[in-house]
């Protein structure tokens, strides 16, 4: 019975995103938290050492960090927000770097867990972005003006307002943070699941099923997991960029009256 149970393939699921406390019962520190801490330290160290001896003619590390910074500054903040975007560059750069680190941790050996697949991380980041864009919108257009411009955009037939107003309100106030959170969380969640499935499944096929079918299918599965790992790396960078860009677009939209 015990042998039969061990040879049974345990299909990866949500349970694989729950980890026991690292330092035994009663402590709270888990693997996702370790990933968060390591990722944060890595990002901080990367920028710190790049900027410590900043020179006019940059070295490799400084060039890398400045390129990252310059990309968010010029391609995200300036493009999506405009000249005022410079004020939000620190937040957007931190956000992008933090997300890249916590997403990429999903394909870094040993860690191999994207901390952003835990909904808590995208959630609090989405809430911060939500607070920022609502705050700057209210400060720029006034409380009434902000919601009036949001719910009753000019240039729309008045008859549509009863339909449009609640939709616009929900879209801005509820769906924006929700979609930010869910898009990132479940991209990472699904990606991690697929990697788990191909790797653990391949391993199971090779070690437990064996035989011609087991070896053939297991090899294909493991090879495919390598391809998927690269694909997953691309998705992780892309999703970090999407989250950052959308945050910038929301801030930019709140700063301008026109919709």
């Amino acid at each position: 019975m015990l042998v039969a149970e061990s040879s049974e393939f345990h299909s990866p699921g949500p349970a694989d995103f729950e980890f026991p406390a690292l330092f035994g019962e009663g402590t709270f520190f888990t693997k996702p938290m370790l990933v968060i801490v390591l990722g944060t330290i890595a990002v901080g160290a990367f920028f710190y050492f790049a900027a410590r001896r900043a020179t006019l003619v940059p070295g490799k590390l400084q060039f890398a960090a400045e390129s990252f910074y310059g990309f968010v500054r010029n391609q995200v903040a300036m493009d999506a927000i405009g000249r005022e975007g410079i004020k939000y560059v620190p937040y957007l750069v931190t956000l992008f770097a933090f997300l890249v680190a916590l997403n990429i941790s999903g394909i870094i050996p040993i860690l191999q867990f994207p901390a952003t697949s835990k909904i808590a991380i995208p959630l609090f980041l989405a809430v911060i972005s939500w607070i920022i864009f609502n705050y700057v919108g209210i400060r720029r257009q006034g409380f009434g003006g902000y919601f009036k411009n949001m719910m009753f955009p000019p240039g729309i037939p008045k008859a549509l307002y009863p339909l449009l107003a609640p939709l616009e309100f929900l879209s801005t106030v509820v769906f924006r943070p929700a979609t930010l959170t869910l898009r990132l969380t479940f991209n990472m969640f699904a990606g991690h699941l697929v990697l788990l499935l191909t790797i653990l499944g391949g391993e199971h096929l090779l070690t437990e099923t064996q035989g011609l079918v087991g070896y053939a299918a297991g090899s294909v599965s493991l090879l495919f997991s390598i391809v998927l790992t690269f694909f997953e790396g691309f998705i992780q960078l892309l999703q970090a960029y999407v989250f950052t860009l959308l945050s910038a677009i929301y801030i930019g939209g709140a700063l301008t009256h026109e919709h």
Binding site: E66, F98, A115, S117
Partner: protein, 193 residues
């Protein structure tokens, strides 16, 4: 029983439920990272950007200045070259004129020298002629005296003899005069030439 509770019952907590501890750890980590980067890193990047932009602009400006300076020097050299060319032409012209003047002057001097030599030759000829005439006159006097003595010494009755003497004298005189005239003509023609 909803599928959600089944899932939760089978596989633990739903992935839609945030863990409070993860929320706190993530938020703290993000906040620390944000404030650290904003304080220690981003100002340095912005400063480096500004300095780099300034240095590039400065370099461009410097290059433009150098270009303008080079252009200015080129113009200066060109004008100097043109000046030098006209100066050279002027000097050549002067030299030509001076050469012509020197040649004219030398010619004049040579002419004057030649005139002087000619004049001296004339004067010398004149003096010689005077001397010849003087000595001739002395000789004529002596001849006249001699003739008179001879005339007086001869018999005065014999007219025929007397006439002969006179004739002879005159012939002698004439021959002397012819010689004298020959000398005088030669002297006059030399003076005219």
């Amino acid at each position: 029983m909803s599928s959600m509770t089944i899932l939760a019952a089978e596989d633990g907590p739903s992935p839609l439920l945030p863990h409070t501890s993860e929320l706190i750890v993530g938020l703290v980590a993000f906040a620390l990272l944000f404030f650290f980067l904003r304080a220690k890193v981003f100002p340095i990047f912005e400063r480096t950007y500004a300095e780099r932009a300034a240095s590039i602009e400065g370099g461009v400006k410097q290059a433009e200045e150098a270009q303008a300076e080079a252009q200015r020097l080129l113009e200066e050299y060109r004008s100097q070259l043109a000046d030098a060319r006209s100066e050279a032409a002027r000097i050549r012209e002067d030299a030509k004129q001076q050469g012509q003047a020197i040649i004219a002057q030398m010619r004049e001097e040579a002419q004057a020298e030649a005139d002087r030599v000619t004049a001296r030759a004339h004067a010398q000829l004149q003096a010689e002629r005077e001397q010849v005439l003087r000595s001739l006159r002395d000789e004529v006097g002596t001849l006249a005296t001699t003739l008179a003595g001879r005339v007086v010494g001869e018999s005065l009755e014999d007219d025929e003899r007397s006439n002969r003497v006179v004739e002879r004298f005159l012939a002698e005189l004439e021959s002397a005069q012819a010689d004298d005239a020959a000398v005088g003509t030669a002297g006059t023609s030399g003076k005219d030439g």
